[in-house]
Point group: C2
Chain length 123, copies 2
């Protein structure tokens, strides 16, 4: 079930490379990597997720400390990859890695739409 | 000079509340807070910047570790505030805080355009 959502997310977003559903403890629930990308990515989406799980915990704390309320989305653009993360609840997040040239607005929209389906399945 | 750019950035972006130019060491170069916002924000933009300076250092490290290259932009959406950060060079970043209902695409665009002017002035 999770795999289907993650696959649809990647295959339905131009320039998307991989997606992962993960706990803030760094444990992967499920992930999907687009295999048709020319030259497989030199990284595993699990490694990316694990790096982000630690960062997201600190970003959540910072938002709360600043009284900005609950963090819902974090995005990081680097030269080689853009990562958009949607925080689903207190325990889980979903991340979508897209190529830097891809349409980030569309990726954010798709991620937000699929998030509700993931939240339902998680509860 | 920096103040002018930061002011233009805030006043020229619908829903923008404050902007700050800061070093990754957490030291503020300059900042601007829109005073006409009804109900002054309960936070100072310096406190927000200082929180982000620590986070950004870790995000830069994570991007480098994952071989995603140099980080150029980070955005965090929380219930009460959206923060868009543009990393200018190895030493400085500029952050723009906007209301959650504001147009984030426009904020990102304005921040990117103003960044080149800030980079010029910093060098």
């Amino acid at each position: 079930m999770f795999k289907d959502v993650l696959r649809n997310l990647v295959e339905g977003t131009d320039g998307a490379v991989a997606s992962i559903l993960m706990g803030f403890d760094g444990i992967t629930v499920d992930s999907y990597t687009r295999t048709t990308t020319p030259g497989a990515p030199p990284w595993s989406v699990e490694t990316v997720g694990a790096e982000y799980s630690a960062l997201l915990g600190q970003i959540k704390q910072a938002s709360a400390m600043l009284e900005f309320g609950t963090t819902s989305e974090v995005s990081v653009q680097a030269d080689g990859m853009t990562t958009v993360v949607r925080l689903l609840n207190d325990e889980y997040f979903v991340a979508l890695a897209i190529e830097p040239s891809a349409n980030m607005g569309r990726a954010r929209y798709n991620l937000r739409v699929k998030s509700s389906s993931l939240i339902e399945q998680l509860s």
